[in-house]
Amino acid sequence: MIAVEHREIALVDLLDRLLAGGVVITGDITLRIADVDLVRIDLNALISSVNAQVPSPWPEAEAP
């Protein structure tokens, strides 16, 4: 059984699509968005540091 649809979507799966995919719009009309690759790297560092400090890191269980 592989069905995963009922489970809450993992943050990494979201970020693979929402930060790495989607239409990118740049220019005068948009506010310049943060460099997503940098965000990704910072996020890695952030999560490692969070993991190092506390065993059970972020409030993943928070349903929308």
């Binding site: 059984m1 592989i2 069905a3 995963v4 649809e5 979507i9 993992a10 943050l11 990494v12 799966d13 979201l14 970020l15 693979d16 699509r17 929402l18 930060l19 790495a20 995919g21 989607g22 239409v23 990118v24 719009i25 740049t26 220019g27 005068d28 009309i29 948009t30 506010l31 310049r32 968005i33 943060a34 997503v36 965000v39 910072d42 996020l43 890695n44 952030l46 999560i47 490692s48 969070v50 993991n51 972020w58 409030p59 993943e60 928070e62 929308p64």
Partner: protein, 257 residues
């Protein structure tokens, strides 16, 4: 307080209205802005959180990022139920409605082509993990095979390493075969970078992290194909996510403006 426009997606005019309480980022309802026969789905968001500097800071706050990504997905997912949306990247913010209109005008042709290409398609995510069993294996082997000599010990070690490598290789082959089969079935495929276990919290090594573009009408068969795949190789785990809006197939990742 000035409100900025956070845009989730561009789509063709909806035949049914948006859910009255479709909540987007920062808990703010999503609304539509129609222009040139296309609609932008957006929320009016506070400048204090979504202007360039605060947004940049917020994006490094895991809790904020998680909530915002879920809210973004919530809106795009609701749209997927009623139309084929063209999702924008997380954190696309405009100063006002006129900025959104200009964006639509500038990219109108791109949007229409992409919307035609994606019409009726969804994205499925497939991940393959190889279960890492070294620890378990080490525990199992120890009582049966206490090495009698240094040479025995080395022999055992070699055997164990070889078994481990073999499993890794089998998993890689499995992943390659599966990707080929799924790509053959799907209209398009994208490989994402393997996920870091620290980030995902998943067990095992992620050897395939891919997205497939599949017509909604053929999705059931696609899911069955994935479902069956897992059975034929032990020590390998397959995970399916979706259906997603076609985030990985917008084909418009290069800024044109």
């Amino acid at each position: 307080m000035t409100a900025l426009r956070y845009v989730y997606a561009v789509c063709r005019p909806l035949s049914a209205p948006l859910q009255a309480q479709l909540t987007g980022v920062a808990g703010i309802p999503a609304r539509q802005l129609e222009h040139h026969g296309l609609i932008a789905v957006l929320s009016l968001v506070p400048e204090e959180d979504f202007a360039e500097e605060p947004l940049k800071e917020h994006l490094e706050d895991l809790e904020w990022l998680t909530a915002t990504a879920r809210a973004h997905q919530n809106v795009v997912d609701a749209l997927t139920g009623v139309t084929t949306p063209l999702p924008l990247r997380l954190g696309t913010v405009f100063r006002d409605d006129s900025g959104v209109r200009v964006m639509i005008e500038e990219r109108e042709e791109d949007f229409r082509h992409a919307l035609d290409r994606l019409e009726g398609r969804v994205e499925w995510g497939v991940k393959v993990y190889v279960e890492q069993e070294e620890e378990k294996e080490a525990v199992e082997e120890r009582p049966a095979a206490r090495p009698a000599s240094g040479r025995d010990y080395l022999r055992q070690r070699r055997r164990r390493t070889a078994a481990h490598e073999q499993r890794g290789q089998k998993a890689d082959e499995f992943a390659a075969r599966l990707h080929e089969a799924l790509s053959g079935y799907a209209e398009d495929a994208r490989l994402h970078a393997p996920q870091n276990a620290t980030l995902s919290g998943a067990t095992g090594r992620n050897v395939l992290n891919a997205s497939y573009l599949v017509p909604r009408s053929r999705s059931e068969e696609f899911v069955e194909l994935v479902d069956r795949a897992e059975d034929d190789t032990p020590g390998v785990r397959v995970e399916l996510t979706g259906p997603w809006a076609a985030y990985s197939f917008t084909g418009l990742t290069q800024g044109v403006a």
